[in-house]
Every structure is written in structure tokens, then in C-alpha cells.
């Protein structure tokens, strides 16, 4: 099998838990984190030799979390080198690391850059201090600006900044100031996530108790449209629901998720799509470490994706990208498809202005992108 592959590595530690965060992360615990690092390296070594992975070109590697940058540069690079030894890195591989302001200084960033990490994703979230405090972030805007500057000084030429918007009391002008400042810094890539309330988070509990309300639909859409227009004006193109980039800087790893690109996810709670199977790793860090140390694979759930499901996923996830999907390609790849029905559905949606038909391509309109989940429900119900 010589199909390309992506690799995701999960680092489940943070200094503190943000109020919106439902990701698999816990407060940093040094003794456990050391065991975790060796387990992760064992896991990398173990998977690198497996037949479904062996020989496949790794085109992207993403270190996410949690806060990978909570570790020292040496620790991170040891993991990366382990990956390099056991996987076949493509020459132009994209290697991203997530970093939180306040966990990186010039030396660490310089070492990471030198060690081969070529893309840095900084969790800025906002340049308004009151918003950062409300979100439960551990940094303020000054520290965020500094982190960006240090990244540039360390030689990172591909930097992403993460933002959140559509916050309950946020005024459009507040968000606009953050956007202005972000654009002023000139990163290659911007992620702008509308706040969503997740179960099991502090916001989730507040929401259930009626203490927190999201802006109404009209307002959210106003924020969305503003964001898109503003960033487009500054040369950032929206390539996926929440992601914007300067030309050629779209995140390869991110795009992979929406393009049926296979990826291997290692570390506690990581998800994979390899060899036509989706599987996830144990979320509980101790359980994960113990299983890996015992020589296991720490699998939590696993399912096989048959052709019908794969077709549905190709459709749904493909439509998350602004370039959309190629109708002919889908039809060729999944010959069993009821393409008449698909055509009919698309035509109806086109009348509803949810999609734009541009044969052979089909993409969601900006109205349709706002309804992606609902469209996914419909596709699930019909196909």
C-alpha cells in the first residue's frame, strides 16, 4: 500500500482547563507525563512496523492537545525523532505543533524549529483580556503577542493563530478589534471558531443552568459573515467552515480530515482512520499508559467503514471544504451510488440556495456552510 498517510499525536496536558474545552486534557502531572512520553514513543515504534502503515508516505504530522508546548523542546523532539525513525516522512511533510502562549520562549521555539517542526499553531483565542479571562485562558493578550513575535524570531514561516468568536456578550466591534490585530500580525493561517457549548465543560454546566446564553442565530450569522468578509479582504481565503489561509498555506493535515485522507492518531483518546477502519484510543491516560506498556494497542472503539458509509462520509465531509466535492469523482469512486437521487437532492438544494452547482463540482454556498450539520443529517437520512 503506497497511499499517503497523516499522523496525529495527542499530548493530553494543560496548565489549566479552559471553560469551553471538552478535549481530552488534564492538569499537567510531571511523573505521569514522563510515563506518557515513553508510552507514546513505544506506541509510535509499534505502529511504524505494522503492515497497514509500513512504506506509506507521511505527508503531515500534527502534535495537538492539550498543550504539546508544555513539554520541553527535547521531550517533543524525542517524540518527533521517534516518528522519523519509524515512519517514512515525505520530503515536504507538514509538521505542526500546537502551542499556547505562556508555554513558549525564544529558545524552546528555536530548538523546535531547528528540530524540524515547520508549522506552529498558537492558541491565541482573543486579543481582548476580558474575553480571555472569561474563556478561562491562562494567558493575556500581551503574552499572546509576544509568543507570536518569538515564533517569527525562531524562524517559523508558517504560523496559525486560533480564535474564538460569537461569545455571549461580545460586540461585533470587540471581535473586529481582535481580527484587526490578527491581520496586522500577518500569520499565514487563521482559525476562527464560533463558540459552541460542549457537554461536560464549565460552560456546558452554566448553559444547562441558564447562566449562559449564546448569541441568537441572526447575530451569529452576522459574526460569521463579518469574519469571512474581513478576512477575505485581508487576503485570507476560507477553505473550510472555520479555517482561513493565505494561498498555498491551507493546513494539509486539517484538509486531510475532510478529504478521506487516512490518518493514524496516537496518544490517549486519539482517533484514527486507517485501512478502512476508524478507531480510537483509550481516553483515560493511566489506562492508556498501562495498556501500551503491556504491549497492547490501547484501543477503545473500532469500526469498519463499508462502502456505503464511506460514500456518505465523502459527501458530508467533502462539503465542509469550500472547494466542495467533485461529483464525477464520487460517482467513480462509489459506483453503487444512487447518482440519480444524489443529483435530485443537489438540484433541490441548489434551488434552496444551499449549494452551488458548478459541474462537475458541487460546493456549499455560504448559507449552506452555516447549515453543514443539518445537511449532514439530511444526507444521513437519505443515503
Amino acid at each position: 500500500m503506497n497511499v499517503s498517510l497523516s499522523l496525529y499525536l495527542h499530548f493530553p496536558y494543560c496548565w489549566s482547563k479552559c471553560h469551553y474545552c471538552a478535549f481530552n486534557s488534564v492538569r499537567y502531572d510531571k511523573p505521569q507525563s514522563l510515563r506518557f512520553l515513553s508510552a507514546l514513543k513505544m506506541e509510535i515504534a509499534r505502529y511504524g512496523g505494522r503492515p497497514e502503515v509500513r512504506g506509506r508516505r507521511l505527508i503531515s504530522l500534527y502534535m495537538g492537545g492539550g498543550t504539546p508546548s508544555i513539554f520541553t523542546a527535547d521531550q517533543v523532539l524525542e517524540v518527533l525523532d521517534c516518528g522519523r525513525r519509524h515512519f517514512h516522512f515525505a520530503d515536504d511533510i507538514e509538521i505542526t505543533m500546537e502551542a499556547n502562549p505562556g508555554t513558549v520562549d525564544r529558545e524552546k521555539l528555536t530548538a523546535l524549529r531547528k528540530g524540524g517542526i515547520n508549522r506552529l499553531s498558537i492558541g491565541v483565542q482573543s486579543f481582548q483580556d476580558d474575553e480571555l479571562a472569561w474563556l478561562g485562558r491562562a494567558h493575556n493578550s500581551r503574552v499572546a503577542r509576544k509568543a507570536y513575535g518569538r515564533a517569527r524570531e525562531a524562524g517559523f514561516e508558517n504560523v496559525n493563530l486560533d480564535f474564538m468568536y460569537s461569545l455571549p456578550d461580545q460586540r461585533l466591534e470587540d471581535w473586529n478589534r481582535t481580527l484587526d490585530e490578527a491581520i496586522g500580525l500577518g500569520p499565514e493561517h487563521l482559525s476562527a471558531y464560533a463558540l459552541t457549548i460542549e457537554e461536560g465543560t464549565r460552560f456546558g454546566a452554566d448553559y444547562d443552568h441558564g447562566l449562559l446564553m449564546l448569541p441568537d442565530e441572526e447575530r451569529q450569522i452576522r459574526f460569521d459573515e463579518w469574519t469571512r468578509a474581513k478576512l477575505a479582504g485581508a487576503g485570507y481565503l476560507r477553505y473550510e467552515v472555520s479555517n482561513y489561509a493565505r494561498p498555498v498555506y491551507a493546513c494539509r493535515h486539517n484538509l486531510g480530515y475532510w478529504s478521506q485522507q487516512e490518518y493514524l492518531g496516537l496518544g490517549p483518546g486519539a482517533h484514527s482512520y486507517v485501512g478502512g477502519r476508524r478507531f480510537s484510543k483509550m481516553e483515560d491516560i493511566d489506562a492508556y499508559i498501562r495498556d501500551i506498556e503491556k504491549g497492547g494497542e490501547a484501543i477503545e472503539e473500532s469500526e469498519s467503514i463499508g462502502p456505503d458509509l464511506a460514500f456518505r462520509e465523502a459527501l458530508i465531509f467533502g462539503l465542509r471544504k469550500t472547494e466542495g466535492i467533485c461529483f464525477d469523482e464520487i460517482r467513480n469512486r462509489y459506483p453503487r451510488t444512487d447518482s440519480g437521487r444524489l443529483q435530485q437532492t443537489f438540484e433541490q438544494w441548489s434551488l434552496d440556495e444551499l449549494i452551488v452547482l458548478n459541474p462537475p463540482r458541487v460546493r456549499l454556498s455560504s448559507k449552506g456552510l452555516c447549515l453543514w450539520d443539518r445537511i449532514a443529517e439530511e444526507i444521513t437520512a437519505v443515503f
Binding site: 467552515v241 476508524r278 469500526e303 452555516c370 447549515l371 450539520d373 449532514a376
Partner: protein, 598 residues
């Protein structure tokens, strides 16, 4: 020996203690101890599960040694306790010589107390008033005794005091039954004349009937004839329920028991039917037989159209045990294939629907209940309309009639004002307003049945904080100024939502229903126009705005499975809705008609 027999029923307003009193009487006569009673019931339930039959002990034979030293056979005949089943009650009473009229000492005379008492009087039965729950602190025996005298015209000195719960006054009641209720006076030597007052279906034996022999006798092996249908059968088993089945070779004049004669269906054994001897028939059947006709209709549809066959099987099975409901296939453009079902009343409808959903695990959509309208067409033919969608074009209608009822409402004086307003709103015509007591008022109204089946009972209870009771009887058809209102979703007529309403109320009702539909129909990705129309004239409109935002901002680390499962769950939810055109309509929308408050 008929002199040793007493046939009686217990009648009461709901919750006045009828069942508890029956239990005490069973215990006191030693029919069963409390413990046995429980075991007995459990045994029967097991049996019920095993054999798929419904055990009814609706006519129990009790042995009682009275104070006069003689042994007596008491036949306690149960009656259904709801206004929907008035005819059944009347047939049960026709099998008796007397009744215990139970009145709650804390509540006093209620609407069903009066209705039941009148029914007993019509049958010339001896009425023994029993003032129950005298042990409760709020009991007002004096007041209730006065009501019994003034409202019902019964001798207050005849009233017996009891607390069925505490077992007080039971013996006195039994003695009064012996002394004051006359024994049956049929002639055992005349040709057989026996009344069917109840029946149920047994998987092995077919329909089992409960019967009161009026004249003559019937034995095992007798050839009998049912007089309304002239069908003949041979008796294979006879007996008493004690409450266990105890078979006997013969039942004779004055006795009450069960009879099995190879009746294949419950519908062969109609309540009120007269049984006679096929060889020596009587010339005249018993009076009072009526063909029971359903009064309230609705469409029943399986949400999942693949369950259509299951629904038909379930209806067929239920009808084996209950011949008072009817069903026939119908087709709705909106809902597909289903059945138009007829019921005695709203409660009956609810019971059947609940059984279909619970016992047969069907997921149903029911349309709003309707009554039968009568239409005289221009061509001079009469049509009965049990489904608003089937109404002919108004230009073909010469005369439009709807059924009326006569409602008796008893209430505390404080609520009279709101009840008058409610009856007025429901197009009622006042017939009577009487003070029964210093603070008890009886209202009698004639009201169109279609107003009653909307939400009348719930409203009555809510405006009176539960202090008003209702009873009603059907009084026939009257001409009325009615129109059909159609509901359209994005221009498509949803036939299952059409309704018939009085012209003056059409606009208000239409507007309220549009509002209600707007509430219950989920937003779609496109705008949905809800319109109400009389003919081609739109009389109300609402718009459900399109859903505009529903998108996950971030799919964490490729956790696609979790998202996908959410969509699959949504898909299950969609299965519970009916798709009309492109609009998904939840079940509750079809009952919107019932939920609007004017």
C-alpha cells in the same frame, strides 16, 4: 328459589369508593379473604398472560347468611364507570332489581351520581343510597343526606352510612340488600328470555357472555337463539363466577352467570341482546336493545408505513374483545394508508390507542377526533361524514347537521360564572340552572358534541379547579352552520389536518391552529408557510422561518464517529415524523386541533 336471590349493582361517581365497597362486600360474604383475593387476581393475571384473554369478574355470585337465619345468593353486577359507556351501564342495570348508590361524604352528589341514579330510576330499581367515607374528617353526612333527598328525591332515612376503606357499615348494607331489594320475579316455566349484559373473548372458548336469566331456564346442550340476529348456538358451558368459575348444569329465572355457546366473535354477542330457546322461543325480546354506534372517530396511522399490516392485525385482535369500536381502511394523501376508527367516546379512544401502542408496540399518529356529521346533498341524499377530508364541496351541500349532547354539570357556586362562559364558548344552549343546595349548582346545557371532544373536559376541570363534574347523553342531530377548514403547508393541502367548525369560530380556530403548528413543526432549511383556508380563501397564515445556522465549528482530532452518531440519532428522530411534501411533521401536529385554547 328466586326468593333467596338478590341481584344488584353498585353505582357511583368516579372515585367515590365503588371498587373498595365491592371488595369489602366480597370479603364480608367470605367469597374471598383479602389474601386470597390478591392471590386470585395474580392467578388470573398469569392466566391472562398465558392465554391472551381478559378475565372479567363482572358478575360475582356471593353466599350470604342473613340475620333472618336464611342463606341468600347475591349477584353483584359491576358497571363500567365512565360516561362513554352509558349504554353498557344501562344493560347491567337491566339485570338487577336494585342498586347501591355510593356518594362520597366529603364530595356530595356529583354529575355521574345523578346520571346513574336517573338511570336506575328509569329501570324501576330500588335505590339504596350509601354515604361512604364517613370516617374522613371532612365528611359532611348531614349535607350529603340532604342532597340525596333534595336532588335525587330519595328518602334520606334510607341512606346507609359506611366507610368501605375502614369496613364500617358493610353488614348493614348487606342486610339492607336482603330486606329492601326485592327478589327477582321471573317465571322459570315460561320460554327462555335472558339478557346479555357483558362479554369477552377467550382464545379457547370464543366469546363468553354474562347473562341474566329473566324467564325460563337454560341448560348445557340447549339450543339457543340470539334474537337480534336470529343466529343459533348450542350451550357448552354455564356457571357462576364466585369469582372463580364454577360450572353448573343449568341457570334459571332470576340467576346471573356466564354462558359459553361456541360464539366465535364478541360481535356475535352484542350487549343488550336477548337469548331465547331455539325450540321454544319467546315471542318478544327484552326491551332496550340498541345497536351500539361509535360517536367519535379518528384516523389511526402507523408512523412507519411498514407497520400498516401490524396495525391491522392489532385492530383485529382488539376488536375480538371490544365490539364497540370499529375500523375501516382509509387513505390520506398526507399520512398514507391507515384506518378510520370509531369509538364510543374520548376515553374509549384513548384506551384503544394506548393499548395499540403499549401492547402491540405500534408507533401511531392519530388525527384529531371528529364526530359524524350528516349532510343533505343537493341531490337529496344523506351522507354521514366521519372524516372532514371527505366532506363534499360546499356548493353541493343543502343542509349540514351535527350531533348534540345534553350535558349535566354539577359544580360549586364559585365556579358557575366561568362554567357559563365555557359553555357559551362551546356554543352551548342553557336548559337549566338549579341550586341543589346552598352552594351546589346544576347546569344543564345542550352542546354540540364536536365542541365536547375538543378539550371541553380538561377545560371544565381547569376552570373549576376540579370542582365540576360532567355527565352527558346524546340527543340527536341539529342543523348547524358549519364549514370545513383546510390546512396547507407550503401550498400543499394536508388532508389529515382538515377540520369542520362552526362558521363563526372558523377564523379564530384557524389562526390558533396555525400558531400551534408553527410551534410544533420544527424549522426546516427553507421557509414553511402554514395557511388555513376555507375553499380557496386563505383565512389565516403563519410562517416558520428557515433554520439558518447549525454547524459544528470544530471536529476535534478527527473524531468523526461521534458526529456521525449524532446524525444517525437525528435520523431515528426523523423516522417518527411524517414527511408531507418536503416538510417534516411531528405526530403532535396532527393533534394541534385539540391543543388550542380560545
Amino acid at each position: 328459589m328466586q326468593t333467596a336471590i338478590r341481584n344488584f349493582s353498585i353505582i357511583a361517581h368516579i372515585d367515590h369508593g365503588k371498587s373498595t365497597l365491592a371488595d369489602r362486600i366480597l370479603e364480608h360474604t367470605g367469597a374471598i379473604t383479602l389474601r386470597e383475593q390478591r392471590d386470585q387476581i395474580l392467578d388470573d393475571m398469569d392466566l391472562e398472560r398465558e392465554r391472551g384473554i381478559t378475565i372479567k369478574a363482572h358478575a360475582v355470585r356471593l353466599e350470604y347468611q342473613a340475620d333472618d337465619g336464611k342463606p341468600y345468593h347475591l349477584h353483584l353486577i359491576d358497571t363500567p364507570g365512565h360516561v362513554d359507556f352509558t349504554y353498557e351501564v344501562s344493560r347491567s342495570l337491566a339485570a338487577c332489581e336494585g342498586v347501591l348508590l355510593v356518594v362520597d361524604a366529603t364530595q356530595g352528589v356529583e354529575a355521574q351520581t345523578i346520571a346513574n341514579a336517573y338511570l336506575a330510576m328509569e329501570h324501576n330499581l330500588v335505590i339504596l343510597p350509601v354515604i361512604n367515607k364517613i370516617d374522613l374528617p371532612s365528611a359532611d353526612v348531614e349535607r350529603v343526606a340532604r342532597q340525596i333527598k333534595e336532588v335525587l328525591g330519595l328518602d334520606r332515612s334510607d341512606a346507609l352510612l359506611a366507610s368501605a376503606k375502614e369496613g364500617i357499615g358493610i353488614k348493614e348494607i348487606l342486610e339492607a340488600i336482603i330486606k329492601r331489594i326485592p327478589p327477582p320475579r321471573g317465571n322459570p316455566d315460561k320460554p327462555l328470555k335472558a339478557l346479555i349484559f357483558d362479554s369477552w373473548f377467550d382464545n379457547y372458548q370464543g366469546a363468553v357472555v354474562l347473562t341474566r336469566v329473566i324467564d325460563g331456564r337454560v341448560g348445557i346442550g340447549s339450543k339457543i337463539r340470539l334474537m337480534s340476529t336470529q343466529k343459533e348456538f348450542e350451550v357448552v358451558e354455564l356457571g357462576f363466577l364466585t369469582p372463580k368459575k364454577k360450572s353448573v348444569p343449568e341457570l334459571s329465572a332470576g340467576e346471573v352467570g356466564y354462558l359459553i355457546a361456541g360464539f366465535r366473535k364478541v360481535s356475535d354477542t352484542k350487549i343488550g341482546e336477548t337469548i331465547t330457546d331455539a325450540l321454544h322461543p319467546t315471542s318478544q325480546p327484552l326491551p332496550g336493545y340498541k345497536e351500539i354506534k361509535p360517536m367519535v372517530f379518528c384516523g389511526l396511522y402507523a408512523v412507519d408505513s411498514e407497520q400498516f399490516e401490524d396495525l391491522r392485525d392489532a385492530l383485529e385482535k382488539l376488536r375480538l374483545n371490544d365490539s364497540s369500536f370499529t375500523y375501516e381502511p382509509e387513505t390520506s394523501l398526507a399520512l398514507g394508508f391507515g384506518f378510520r376508527c370509531g369509538f364510543l367516546g374520548l376515553l374509549h379512544m384513548e384506551i384503544i390507542q394506548e393499548r395499540l401502542e403499549r401492547e402491540y408496540r405500534l408507533n401511531l399518529i392519530s388525527t384529531a377526533p371528529t364526530v359524524i356529521y350528516k349532510i343533505l346533498t343537493n341531490r337529496g341524499e344523506w351522507l354521514s361524514i366521519d372524516n372532514p377530508a371527505k366532506l363534499p364541496d360546499p356548493s353541493h351541500i343543502q343542509r349540514f347537521e351535527e350531533p348534540y349532547i345534553r350535558a349535566t354539570i354539577l359544580t360549586r357556586e364559585d365556579y358557575v360564572g366561568s362554567l357559563l362562559a365555557l359553555c357559551q364558548e362551546k356554543r352551548g344552549v342553557q336548559i337549566e340552572l338549579n341550586y341543589l343546595d346552598v352552594d351546589r349548582v346544576m347546569l344543564v346545557y345542550e352542546i354540540p358534541l364536536n365542541e365536547i371532544i375538543m378539550d371541553f373536559y380538561d377545560r371544565l376541570k381547569s376552570v373549576s379547579k376540579g370542582y365540576a363534574s360532567l355527565d352527558y347523553e346524546h340527543i340527536g342531530y341539529r342543523e348547524s352552520d358549519l364549514v370545513k377548514v383546510d390546512l396547507l403547508l407550503n401550498g400543499e393541502n394536508v388532508d389529515a389536518l382538515s377540520f369542520i367548525v362552526h362558521k363563526e369560530k372558523a377564523y379564530t380556530r384557524a389562526r390558533l391552529i396555525c400558531e400551534k403548528l408553527k410551534e410544533v413543526i420544527p424549522r426546516q432549511m427553507f421557509e414553511v408557510a402554514i395557511q388555513a383556508a376555507i375553499g380557496s380563501k386563505i383565512i389565516a397564515r403563519e410562517t416558520i422561518g428557515a433554520m439558518r445556522k447549525n454547524v459544528t465549528a470544530k471536529c476535534y482530532g478527527g473524531d468523526i464517529t461521534r458526529k456521525r452518531k449524532l446524525w444517525e440519532k437525528q435520523k431515528e428522530g426523523k423516522k417518527r415524523m411524517k414527511q408531507v411534501g418536503r416538510v417534516e411533521i411531528p405526530q403532535e401536529a396532527f393533534l394541534a386541533l385539540l391543543k388550542v385554547k380560545e
